[in-house]
Symmetry: C2
Subunit: 396 residues, 2 copies
Amino acid sequence: MVFFRFTCTSCGKATEEEALRCPLCDEPMDVEADLPSSFPPVKPKETLMERFRDFFPFADPRSDLSLGEGFTPLVDMEALGRSFGLSSLWAKNEGANPTWSFKDRGTLTGVIHAMEMGYDRIGTVSTGNMAASVAAYGARAGIETVVLVNKGLPREKLGPIAMYGPRLIKVDGDYGRLYHESLRIGKKLGIYFINSDAPFRVIGSKTISYEIWEQLNRSVPDWVVVPVSAGGNLRGIVQGFVDLVSMGLLNRLPRFLVVQAEGCSPIVKAFEEGAEKVRRFDSPHTVAHAIENPFPPSGNQVLRLVRANGWSCKAVSEDSIIEAQRALAFNGLFVQPASAVALAGLKKAMADGTVEQGQSAALILTGAGLKYTAVFGQHDLSWTQCSLDKLEKALR
Amino acid sequence: MVFFRFTCTSCGKATEEEALRCPLCDEPMDVEADLPSSFPPVKPKETLMERFRDFFPFADPRSDLSLGEGFTPLVDMEALGRSFGLSSLWAKNEGANPTWSFKDRGTLTGVIHAMEMGYDRIGTVSTGNMAASVAAYGARAGIETVVLVNKGLPREKLGPIAMYGPRLIKVDGDYGRLYHESLRIGKKLGIYFINSDAPFRVIGSKTISYEIWEQLNRSVPDWVVVPVSAGGNLRGIVQGFVDLVSMGLLNRLPRFLVVQAEGCSPIVKAFEEGAEKVRRFDSPHTVAHAIENPFPPSGNQVLRLVRANGWSCKAVSEDSIIEAQRALAFNGLFVQPASAVALAGLKKAMADGTVEQGQSAALILTGAGLKYTAVFGQHDLSWTQCSLDKLEKALR
């Protein structure tokens, strides 16, 4: 096993023992591992973990567990960016992953770690993207996979998870408590829960940063805009750029814009109130379901990162999310509302001067539009009808 | 403009004039163009048309039109293949494209050609994957995009097309006639219809073959298994391997297994009856909607290819499609029923000895499972429920 250790994001405690959260302060843990001395050249046929094997503390890149995750396109949204006055706008389209969200990167790293530790059961607590992702990779690995969802999840949201054949359980009880209960039960019964901010899930998101840097000719945009729910994806993306700085491949980090929906914005609220800790957000409600986490387990660490680096947080309205989703589709990318939140946040940050005219930005588009088709009802979709005989006239 | 010409798939007539179908015999046309002298090395940041620019007769790879299509994973389905007695089984996952189907490759090549020809309107006739793909790339290109669908298309299928903002028209009339009418009207009014077997759509599918060959260390499997509807994708994939043979990079073509659903199998029927031409299939009905084309416009050419090369055709039952869809999901890939048809066909071909034990095969998985969620009702999906307090006991 390659050397690595867990370090607490808050108190800094370091340990080589398995720790999903800090045993001292219950804050989330980072994984610290050696980095390679140079960036690997691209090869025609490699899995994500083969490509970046020297960046991860795994004995084996486990190509047998890959479903083809990562290597997602960074789409040049030049026209859209120019319309806002940006010098460049890029969209990292994570909807091109095997289960159509960024979760696949971290699910794979989580599953590899679980299997290297000898676990034969994995699990997750999720209502959407992560549940499908863990179910898929658990099926791929051929190990028992427990997916815990909240009791109210409708049938149409259960289908894309159940197709992969996990042990799917609707749990009746407080959903926030379920996260912590799953870790307790998992430790006791030997189930490795790859929850939203599990350290070995978080490091999977580092590959997003490695790819962006390479796709931009070994540079970074002024801003990276990330929709934030639990906070794990943001932490991983930041860490990826930190790695590149550590390796001497990058002079400075990009700035980060953390975006949440106004209807569920506990981190933005704590930031604006100057609070040290994130508090549970009352009555969350937003069309951006995939980031509707009222009490994000890595929320305090996101706050620390934003403050320490002088970054920014924005909360965006429901209308602006719908408008941003449409603007992206009008430029060829149909994303889920939670992803559109990034564009809505960028627009807001440009309007108030946080992001300046002439700067460049990359949006992290976390998941595919087909994930949440109920949103069609909120768009002004239009079509006409005509008979075949009158078609020529209609098109004239 | 780089030199190319259209040649008829049936009578061989060659022309440098724009021809979507042969002016002599009304059969589909191929695009013949010069090939490069060697295969390009892979670079970290390239669009599909940048990568393969020397394979296509375009003046410019038009990176500005790219949405990040292609470069899809070839997933090693070792366990599943072994369970059938195959030496190797691979899955080309086209659901990882920008609009989640293989159509994006050919839509891009079609749009580039249309724009190089000076068209400012494009269109398509489709009810699903192709409609969404053309709407997306038309939006990306910023040109007027006409999408013609049949009158009966339900609202939930209109949404994923309408999101991109095309001119979407439900046409009341015979759907088979609509294909030919669109070509006539397009020619008259200057609308470039990138229909299912338009020559410049077909060549987009060649990149699937280039990628497979490269992903398999410059080799090919014994069999390539393709779900076939209009026939354009099959033609393009075959042509891609023919290119590699022409370039001296491959000794012989892989064998092709053409698969259709029994409920709409006009090509298989003609093949089995020894007919020279495909006839319209009466009362088509299958869960594999995306390949439910009762009168495939490239059907005769598919027949010619299969017969000339001694390949094979299979029609598969509805039950076997559902079973194959689940088997793929149990191995981590959730595909639409039309894609699962490939696995069902391979199983059938192994059972009757067409494909032999110990051979290798690649499945072309044409589109994502999220494209058609109504299929959940046909699967035995299961979940349980328990209270948070009893969760530990349930998982013990």
